[in-house]
């Protein structure tokens, strides 16, 4: 009786919230949802507003309803209801994603999975950890530190972002050149299908029979299934780590040095570049000790056995000096390394201090195109009359231009978005991609029409339908409909072919 009363009260709250909002759900659906999840259902507009965006704050949508379950059975029941009533379902971890993968659906359920934050077990011999999807990225490394192990991918939001979100976005970080993305560091997933069925992909062994569904789930942005458990690989902590900082008089010079390091047979754990605006912003913010009179700064991390690190360090010094590096600083102890990294890791908030708003892009280019791309970005910056600071995962060609704007000035947001779109199209033209690690979400969905042909997009829809026949999972994200591409008016640009007439204006 009490349970019934409680449900009735909650239902009324949910209803009253939803009545004020748009499209009401089928009463039947809501009844059942509240029956299953009780006070884990949020319908009150004030509380719904908390979930109106993820890290892509420029896009805000009030969710139809939010559900924050705390058992797998509950998650399964919510999914089954959505399936039965054809209600869109958007999964959300910590909401730190930068491309709008977790932007809510106004007529759908937003399924928050942050309560699933348990580390289920650690297997030190096989070097794996089984964790729930809401565990934060950093919490995994912290939990296994005593064992001399760590989890390698380290997106800059690692203190907050969840492993479930990392799988959905195939997140990277500063160490991917050597240690790979999330897809290279996950062994097994437990997934709930849109029909509510639980299945596993991958295995506790190093491979599994059949198609590699484990890979396809990575970076699928919540379109294929809801992940409820992740088995990650752990690595032994390297015996020795050092960070080298070097300043250069030109971005091209720093880019050449990066190429020479890799051609010289060194695979650094991390290799990052910042341009002058980014260096100045970071230095003003955290006083990392960066030189302010250089055009580009490289941060290079070497790890391995003590002997390996010392051999590679002397080679690295030689290469850097051949390429005219100055203000070279080498840090071995943890505090000094942390100081050098701090400026790079704080680059985004640092840039946030010099402009009211910034828009972070995420294109990847073949590294040899770096100097030409940065030159074009500078010209685009003049054309759109907006500043830009560049940070760059130089080792793997992943560029993060931060476009500076002021949302309160009329037209600046639109100009920033147009500037961003032009950068992405430039990346495609140079043989690169529109997203290296942040995902497509809703942010880059129109550029997908430029990167892929109609037939390629059709096949993506075929993959989507293989997992989610009814299309209830995160509809409208990641893969544009052909109709949308027709409206956007974009022509597919074949990789590497220069045919961007509208860029010729600069």
């Amino acid at each position: 009786m009490l349970t019934f009363l409680r449900s009735a009260i909650i239902l009324e709250i949910v209803y009253s919230g939803l009545m004020q909002s748009r499209q009401p759900f089928l009463a039947d659906f809501l009844d059942k949802l509240v029956n299953v999840c009780g006070d884990h259902v949020i319908g009150d507009p004030a509380r719904l507003a908390v979930y109106e965006s993820d890290g892509l704050t420029a896009k805000r949508v009030l969710p139809g309803v939010v559900v924050l379950p705390d058992t797998i059975a509950e998650v399964q029941a919510v999914i089954r209801l959505c399936y039965e009533y054809n209600v869109p379902l958007v999964a959300r971890g910590a909401g730190t994603g930068l491309s709008g993968g977790a932007t809510p659906h106004s007529e759908g359920v937003l399924l928050g999975l942050a309560k699933f934050n348990r580390i289920i077990g650690v297997d030190p011999i096989n070097r794996t950890a089984r964790v729930e999807p809401g565990v934060t990225n950093l919490a995994i490394s912290e939990a296994v530190r005593e064992l001399g192990l760590y989890y390698a991918p380290d997106p800059s939001s690692q203190i907050a972002c969840t492993i479930g979100g990392n799988v959905a976005e195939n997140s990277g970080g500063v160490h991917c050149l050597k240690y790979g993305l999330t897809v290279h560091n996950v062994r097994k997933l437990k997934v709930i299908s849109p029909e509510g069925e639980i299945y596993e992909v991958g295995s506790d062994a190093l491979d599994s029979p059949g198609y590699d569904l484990l890979s396809v789930m990575h970076g699928s942005e919540g379109l294929l299934g809801i992940v409820t458990e992740v088995t990650v690989n752990l690595l032994p902590k390297p015996e020795n780590v050092c960070v080298v900082m070097a300043g250069f008089d030109s971005v091209a010079g720093a880019g050449d040095a990066v190429g020479a390091v890799i051609e010289g047979g060194i695979l650094p754990a991390g290799l990052e570049m910042m341009d002058k605006p980014a260096i100045c912003a970071a230095e003003a913010f955290v006083s990392a000790g960066y030189p302010l009179d250089v055009e580009a700064l490289l941060l290079c991390e070497l790890d391995g056995t003590a002997t390996e690190v010392s051999t590679q360090l002397s080679r690295l010094r030689e290469i850097f000096s051949n390429y005219g590096a100055r203000d070279v600083e080498v840090a071995f102890d943890e505090a000094a390394r942390a100081r050098l990294w701090q400026g790079r890791k704080a680059a985004f908030p640092a840039v946030g201090r010099i402009a009211p708003d910034y828009y972070c892009m995420d294109g990847t280019i073949p590294r040899r195109e770096l100097a030409s791309v940065l030159t074009q970005i500078t010209r685009l910056s003049q054309y759109y009359a907006l500043g830009v600071a560049n940070v760059f995962h130089a080792g793997d060609g992943n560029l993060h231009p931060l476009i500076l704007y002021d949302a309160n000035r009329s037209g600046e947001l639109e100009r920033a978005e147009a500037f961003g779109a032009a950068i992405l199209e430039l990346c495609i033209e140079k043989g690169g991609t529109i997203t290296g690690e942040h995902g497509v979400g809703i942010e880059k969905i129109d550029q997908m029409c430029v990167q892929f042909t109609e037939e390629e997009l059709k096949l993506f829809h075929g993959v989507k339908a293989s997992f989610d026949e009814k299309g209830i999972l995160n509809p409208g994200k990641a893969i544009p409909t052909l109709h949308r591409c027709a409206e956007f008016g974009a022509m597919h640009v074949h990789r590497g072919e220069d045919k961007f007439p509208h860029l010729d204006r600069f």
């Binding site: 506790d204 059949g210 690169g432 993506f460 893969i479 990789r495």
Partner: protein, 343 residues
């Protein structure tokens, strides 16, 4: 005729066919139907792009692994997943379609980990490109990795872009005579240490350990605990284990968590630091004895298709698998039955 046109012609005739490269992997999967036509990739060959400073190589499917290895070695680089080359006859397309990785796999990654992009000819004869020639790319679903190891059933791989790695300065293989149990214990111990290990295998009553890295790092590792005083192996076994040269016999390949005790005493070879084991006993089906992992039946010569060579998929995964096949190859013409019957 170019590959895509050839597939398109077969599609118009709704004619099922098999893909063949170097023809070295007939032992894997169900046997190809001898009555069906073959689409050969061997003339579709050549390296399309190689940028040592970018660590990226792109080549056509029919390019021989030997050629690729030579080109990489000239620049001091290598394929990280060490695909078996089967006496020099294996092609890149076959290596990726089969998804086989060599002795280095547990420490460096599998074939799928190094695939950055593919050009794929679908069952309807359309050439489509997925992934790319950059290290990081999350635009669209990861079709490149999906077709890796699909044994050609999702279409004809026409070209592949791979991440390559710097080759180590020094490689030393050591041999320690011991039994399986001791070897297994040592493998697990070595894998958990920060030493530059690139192979750990028990075969022929000995543990074989390979170290790769800078000269100094390899020398330092050689003095490490159990490796101190180990004999240097002049004729290392790395190639033989990944080439499945126990063939001639029917083999079971077990893929298990490294520490698994499963069939430790019965296995002929324990490779991959414990994670891959071979059992040469045709009459013995080990599947019921595996709590974790899976077993693959490797027949030489390929015989009647019973039981299925690859372990059974769960109903939910099979349903997705069937639908994916439909999406890539709607008329179900490409490599019918090679991976599973009915696929």
């Amino acid at each position: 005729m170019d590959l895509a046109a050839q597939v398109a012609r077969l599609y118009r005739a709704r004619q099922p066919f098999h893909i063949v490269g170097g023809g070295t992997k007939s032992f894997l999967g169900n046997p190809a139907d001898p009555d069906l036509p073959r689409v050969s990739t061997t003339n579709h060959e050549g390296i399309l792009a190689y940028e040592p400073a970018e660590l990226i190589l792109r080549a056509r499917a029919g390019t021989s692994l030997v050629k690729i290895n030579e080109v990489l070695a000239a620049e001091g680089q290598m394929l990280g997943f060490e695909p078996p080359d089967f006496d020099g006859r294996a092609t890149l397309g076959g290596a990726i379609a089969a998804g086989l990785s060599g002795a280095r796999r547990p420490w460096y990654g599998a074939a799928r980990d190094f695939v950055l992009g593919v050009g794929l000819i679908t069952g309807e004869g359309r050439y489509l490109e997925f992934g790319g020639q950059v290290m990081k790319n999350v635009a669209g679903f990861d079709v490149s990795r999906l077709v890796t190891g699909a044994l050609g059933t999702l279409g004809v791989i026409a070209d592949v872009s791979l991440k390559v790695l710097p080759a180590p300065e020094s490689v030393v293989s050591l041999c320690i005579p011991c039994n399986r149990q001791d070897a297994h214990r040592m493998m697990l111990d070595l894998s958990n240490r920060s030493i530059p290990i690139s192979g750990a295998c028990h075969s022929d009553q000995a543990l074989w350990v390979r170290l790769s890295g800078t000269n100094e790092a390899v020398e330092a590792a050689r003095t490490h605990g159990i490796l101190a005083g180990a004999q240097v192996a002049d004729t290392p076994i790395w190639k033989t284990t990944s080439n499945f040269t126990l063939k001639g016999k029917t083999l079971w390949r077990l893929s298990v968590p490294p520490s698994s005790p499963a069939l430790l005493d019965e296995c002929n070879v324990i490779d991959w630091g414990g994670a891959q084991r071979f059992l040469a006993d045709p009459d013995f089906n080990p599947r019921h004895r595996l709590d974790e992992g899976h077993a693959t039946l490797i027949r030489t010569p390929p015989a009647e298709a019973s039981p299925e060579p690859f372990a059974e998929l769960s109903p939910a995964v099979w349903k997705i698998t069937r639908r994916l096949k439909q999406a890539f190859d709607p008329a179900e013409l490409v490599n019918p039955g090679r991976l599973y019957q009915g696929l």
